[in-house]
Symmetry: C2
Subunit: 130 residues, 2 copies
Amino acid sequence: MGGNRELAERFISRLEARDWGAWARLLHPDVIYEIPQSRERIRGRERYLQFNREYPGDWHLRPKVIIADDQRGVVWFEWSVDGSGPDDAMAFFEFADGLITRVTDFWPEPFEPPAGREHLVERWLPARVH
Amino acid sequence: MGGNRELAERFISRLEARDWGAWARLLHPDVIYEIPQSRERIRGRERYLQFNREYPGDWHLRPKVIIADDQRGVVWFEWSVDGSGPDDAMAFFEFADGLITRVTDFWPEPFEPPAGREHLVERWLPARVH
């Protein structure tokens, strides 16, 4: 389980470092990557590596929370690109035999609160003005 | 840790059941609830309970993945309201002394894929036509 937590942590840190070789070695050759919000799926380590290498912009990732058990894990991280953000995102993992076999990530966007709950909530200021 | 996993599971199941008494008993009296996307915060069990009791619509929750360790946990769940959805959401937890002390949730929305990665991805159909 410590091993899986470390796999999740290294997944983010090796991406941030653009250390593509070390990043790819965390992945099963048949890894499945999914983005449910856009209903996109990438099959296999080589395509997933290419996807990240080709991803546009000067993006940065910073882990905030990592949780893992013997089969699954999650990293909640902050990301920014080309000076926008930071926003929160999260990547869920499945593990087998010391490798990552599935990655599913989510990219929530800021929204304004609906009316009608002002009597219960307080708000905080944006982390940075865009 | 099994206890924390069960706390996370019951958090969702007692909400879905509108079993407000059992749901509130999972929470520390000074629980903090945050929605980073709208920068909203609710302080305390009583207000958080009121927030959920007043939340409009016929909403439903179904857990998909639960991960917990001795301090933190997450539930990735499907939600729908008034026949729209299902969409994915996730709630992160902090635990102390067998209670939930902090809840942070995220509500990602569907988006269309940006152009330029069609050579790497496949897409799947929506779960339901809205």
